[in-house]
């Protein structure tokens, strides 16, 4: 289509879509691993009920936000629409904050969690860069 010079050129970012795809799978694994880790920590380490509840509620909140973010991001990228992609971009910020929470601020941070959350943050970082680039591309047309 683009070669013909008619209609809308393909502006969707393949690297971004690839990143979303990987992120979906990674987050699924991450969520399962975190749940198992909380079972482990809850059994082994002394938790106050409030702390454990906060950590777990935050985890499920994170799940919801991440699903929304990836859905809107993928949809906006494929349909070449700015609004969903902008929503995805704004949702990336709370997602990154959640990752930072589990990286640094939760009750007990295991070494595994440091690694897992750092990878999530890397995903977020690259997605932010690519989303901004893609949004710029969309807004040009």
């Amino acid at each position: 289509m683009a070669a013909r010079g008619k209609g809308i050129p393909i502006l969707s970012s393949a690297p971004l879509e690839f990143l979303f795809f990987l992120n979906t799978w990674y987050f699924t694994c991450y969520f399962i691993a975190e749940i198992l880790m909380f079972i482990y920590k809850g059994l082994v380490l002394p938790y106050s009920p409030a702390n454990l509840t906060l950590d777990l509620v935050m985890l499920f909140l994170y799940l919801g936000v991440e699903i929304l973010r990836l859905f809107f991001g993928s949809k906006g990228n494929l349909t070449q629409r700015s609004l969903p992609l902008a929503v995805c971009l704004t949702l990336t910020l709370p997602c990154a904050m959640m990752a930072v929470y589990y990286l640094l601020l939760q009750t007990y941070v295991l070494r595994v969690e440091v690694i897992l959350n750092a990878i999530l943050l890397v995903f977020c970082l690259f997605e932010i860069v690519l989303e901004i680039a893609t949004l710029a591309a969309f807004s040009r047309y």
């Binding site: 082994v44 002394p46 007990y108 941070v109 070494r111 690694i115 750092a118």
Partner: protein
Amino acid sequence: MYNNKPSRLFSGDFYCDTFGSQNTGSGFISLDTASCGGVMDLILCLLGSVLFFLNLKSVFSELNTTATESQLSSNESSWDEDAATQNSSLPPFGVTAATEEPAFGSYSTDAWATEAPITVSPSLGFPRAAPTVTPSQPLISSLQTPVTDVSSLCPCNLLENQCDVNCCCDPGCAEEFALFTGCSVQQVITDSMLCSQTAAIYSLNMTVNGTMQRISTLTNLINPDFFCIQTNNNAAGLSFGTPEIPTNGNFDTLVKTFSRPSFSSAGTASSTSPSQASGYKYGDLIQTNSIKGILTLPAPAGNSWCSNGNPVGFLQNQQAQCNVKFNLATDCTNLSSVNIASYSNFQIFQTPGAASSLVNITLRSVTLQSLDGMRSQSSVTNASSFAPSVLQNGTVCSKVVLQVNYVITYSEAGVIMNAEVSIVLGVVNATPVQQSFQVTFVQVKTTSTPVSGNPGYINGLPLLAGSLIAGSGIVQSTNRFGQLMVMKSSSVQDCLALPGERLPVLFGINMVSGCSLRINNISNCSLLSEQILGVLIGSNFPDYVASFGNSQAQNVLDWVQINTVTTASSSFSCNIPLSLDLVIQWTKYGSLVNPQAQIVSLTRKFTTNSTALQGTLQISSTVSFVDVSAAAQPGYKAPPTIDAKLPFDFFFPFV
């Protein structure tokens, strides 16, 4: 050996793994604790972690090599071996930096409880008791903060201001280190679950003159465990919580949480009786419908005066004797503790709980005692007819409770089936009044006769004896202390004065008793002889003695006939027995592990006078137990026989 000085960019509380600046050869990423703070540091952290993840395998291999390197370079020759001998259950730590770090405890370990690694369990590292420096003070409000500095902690320092042997971290040891043979605690860490922490390592080094020299280093231990704690944001979780100080506001909740069984008055004890189950348990208070709510038995509390609140525990036989302050004029009719009604005029709950049915206390017998001690059985009518009353112009009080004896019958399920009371009422003219109380629990449908051993006799328990009656076995006295008795020495020392009182023969206890007899004339020799015999053997001397403490009366073969030997000299016309010697021969029966005492024979030996009777004669009776056990014979089990037979056609083709 990687000598990594931690670079602290931010003085925050959070740390994460990052690759340090020392990326030395062979792709090893040292795990050092560098602070992460701010956005740039965060990104650095991320990149570092990703690289760390990718290089995980090489990290582990490198950690192992660093551990061995530190082994070789350190003064102790075998770090792992020593840890193994100390029953260490630590995950293996890799020692990355063996340099001394002066900045001790800089890793936010303010409230972390500590313990020596030799006692750390890897799965449940904490919480633990927080050790304190000085002996604990009695006040809760002055709890001390836990010491978490590993350099000042010493788990093997048990003696204060003294040197503990082989305790290399003991500050009380200075010159004693030279005599040590090893270090009982080689490493002090805060917690084995932390990824990175400061550890105090102690070792001994032999000097040139043969003495030992202690070497203490502070190192940074890196835990290679994948699930170690990188950041702990719950500092309070590593030590026991500070106990709440009781105030007016929280006292009730604290009492509910921490209340334990304690002494209390009888009234509250009945309301908080724990057992609401089907029956009483051992030690449960017996509930009644009296004012107190529980069955009590007066007992002396500290002094000889009666304390009325002493509760009766289920199945706990009690016997008590105490005095009651008694004012004849006022207390005779008013004092409840001398009134029969307070011991019999209530009912007992069959099982704990108000819903159960009640059992009357049966008045089994009432014995009346006169002022001079004579007793007579009263025909039981009613407790109300035995109320105390003042007689003889207020000089004596009659029908005062002197003795109370409860017999409570219970079933196997702990249900009280029956309660009986025997009461002795007496006439009292002086104070104080001495009362004695007893409660006995008897299981229903069991013979209440206790045995003197099972099977062998037990020292101090009475010998069982009886007389053989043809066809019906051995007939015993119902009183187990009255079956085999000897004369009792009295203060009067007159054989003819008090023939009544006698002593039971207790197993294993030799006895001597005696009395003196003044002879005026020997004209009625046969009468005198009979009387003395009566003093010595009593009215009813048994024929048989049980060879075991639990011999059954119907099993005559378990009983030993009593032999009688009389050494009589016929040279005198008048022979009276002067002494009775009971010789009980017993043997150990059964295995050496648990020998049982068995009576083999009982001989009663009378010795009659060998000289003319005149003046004062000494009559004596002795009981002696003789151990006639033969030397133990070794007994072996028969060796097992192997019944291995070949089939008849085993050599078939040849034979």
